[in-house]
Symmetry: C2
Subunit: 322 residues, 2 copies
């Protein structure tokens, strides 16, 4: 009985044709059938690759993060690039895992000036205003992952989700984005990577990073910088033991997971190529609609909507043409 539980796509594929013909496609089936042209390559230079020390089973543990395109958070992302180039994180560790919230890595001795690792020179202090971007931003520069935003006066935010309790939200260039009348900003969905900071007006350098591993903590939106999202290997962070100290910090050094290295993707030999489903594609619109109104065999009642974090943007290793 158990193998077919909560099954969605998998059972439909395995079901006899008669049943499959009756039901609509599952979201994953819509994505699998997308034409190659609907997929957008992610430049290796926009990836951050973190290798953790192997776990008890000896297997490598790699986390691949896609950095956000302009106009979002570019001050912090510049710092992250400098930190990776300086090998700042090598030998540091994952220091905090708080259930249904975040996993966080950086310098466990960062609070202790005598012991803290020196930051590379030239890191920017970014202003709080940069947590959000202008809809008619002039700050963006030509960028491979940013096809539309710099070419239009107004960001063409696709409001595929209805306005929710947090305001308007939709998708832009592969990212979940919320908006007000004049500003747009990235959303704290599962897997998003942000910049730890102290109390305002500090905005963090980027040396302390966290990833969301629970229900979207949307109250952090506009209060902290988001710099990317995990596109592969999040289980290497989300399944780590929870810390038993305050806020999920580990209480002993032995509990921390060591970071072997963090590098920009273009510096990592043999890294696979990745691509995301264009959120401006017709396929994505159908996928988002199917997430909001499941009509495949397992479901009786369509939800009638989906919040922006319940429509994860599909990302995969690149395949050949199809």
């Amino acid at each position: 009985m158990n193998k077919r539980l909560l099954l969605a796509a998998a059972a439909l594929v395995a079901a006899p044709l008669a049943a499959a013909e009756k039901a609509a496609l599952a979201p994953s089936e819509i994505v699998a059938a997308a034409p190659k042209a609907d997929w957008v390559a992610i430049a290796p230079a926009d990836l951050l690759v973190m290798d953790l020390a192997p776990g008890a089973n000896g297997k490598p543990r790699r986390v691949v993060i896609q950095l956000m395109p302009p106009p979002f958070s570019q001050g912090w992302i510049g710092n992250v690039r400098k930190l990776a180039a300086a090998k700042f994180w090598d030998g540091l560790s994952v220091n905090r895992v708080q259930d249904n919230y975040v996993a966080q890595w950086g310098d466990a001795d960062g609070d202790d000036k005598a012991k803290a690792r020196a930051l590379p020179k030239g890191l920017k202090q970014v202003a709080e205003l940069e947590y959000t971007a202008s809809k008619t931003s002039q700050r963006c520069e030509p960028h491979p992952g940013n096809r539309l935003l710099c070419s239009t006066e107004e960001a063409p935010l696709s409001n595929l989700t209805k306005s929710d309790v947090y305001g308007s939200a939709g998708f832009l260039e592969g990212w979940a984005i919320a908006s007000s009348e004049a500003r747009i900003w990235p959303v704290h969905c599962y897997g998003m990577v942000g910049v730890g900071r102290n109390l305002s007006p500090d905005t963090g350098s980027g040396a302390e990073l966290y990833v969301v591993i629970g229900h979207a903590p949307r109250h952090l939106d506009r209060n902290i910088a988001l710099v990317g999202r995990v596109i592969e290997g999040i289980e290497n962070l989300s399944s780590l033991p929870r810390g038993t100290g305050a806020l999920g910090f580990y209480e002993t050094a032995a509990e921390r997971t060591a970071i072997l290295s963090v590098r920009i993707g273009s510096e990592v030999p043999g890294l696979p190529a990745y691509e995301y489903l264009s959120t401006e594609s017709e396929t994505f619109a159908r996928y988002a609609d199917a997430r909001a109104n499941r009509r495949d065999a397992f479901f009786n009642v369509p939800a009638g909507g989906a919040d922006v974090c319940n429509i994860p943007v599909p990302v995969r290793r690149s395949t050949g043409s199809r």
Copy 2:
């Protein structure tokens, strides 16, 4: 630097008085200051206690689940009580952990009639209609955890959250509940426990259970029975290694986590007492408002709202009077 990141309550407590005076209370501080009268005892008979085999560090791994009160899902909950009384789960295992979705336990051989463990006699086949309850339900019976619902004609749903993309939602008797004009139903928030099933019209017996360990999969609402929520020890499920098979099933028996026993709380010697913050209390209203509009020291911009799953109902071990 890192210890004070994303800190909310903790930093405020540690901050100098001048800073603390400026900022409003954090949600956790509002809860900590609640009068004892705002806490509602959870009867041990409404708890399900699952003990997993110890992990690599030898520590016990207990998961405590609170079962839902009437009028919700009582057919399945009756089955769960029979299954626990029959020690059905003892020696079975956690068979599936899918990242950002669910952890699931039961009989790994359930699909194989020759090898499947026999279910106890007298389990009900519950109708799909029971995924939801009537707002003017006559099905409920007097119950210690159900102070209001049976005493009123209409469920007094507190719509503390605005209508969201999924419809109306609020809190009732300590639970996050969604509603339509005539029906109410529990919501798939983080930590909620549901009943695995096959394709409709099967509704599951309760022998296969799962817990939500990611962003709220609200598309499952009204499509599957929810029977409770984890109130302690969820990290013993959410931090398990993810299964590498389809849907997060483990591919080998060795990867499964063994269940030592599952018992109703009143059968477990030495179990602590638990209580939840009454969702009908004034304290809860202030807590929910503070979750929606963080005004404590860490935050610059209040979100202006919170979805129902971003306002987790506080549950704690019972303390003495205060």
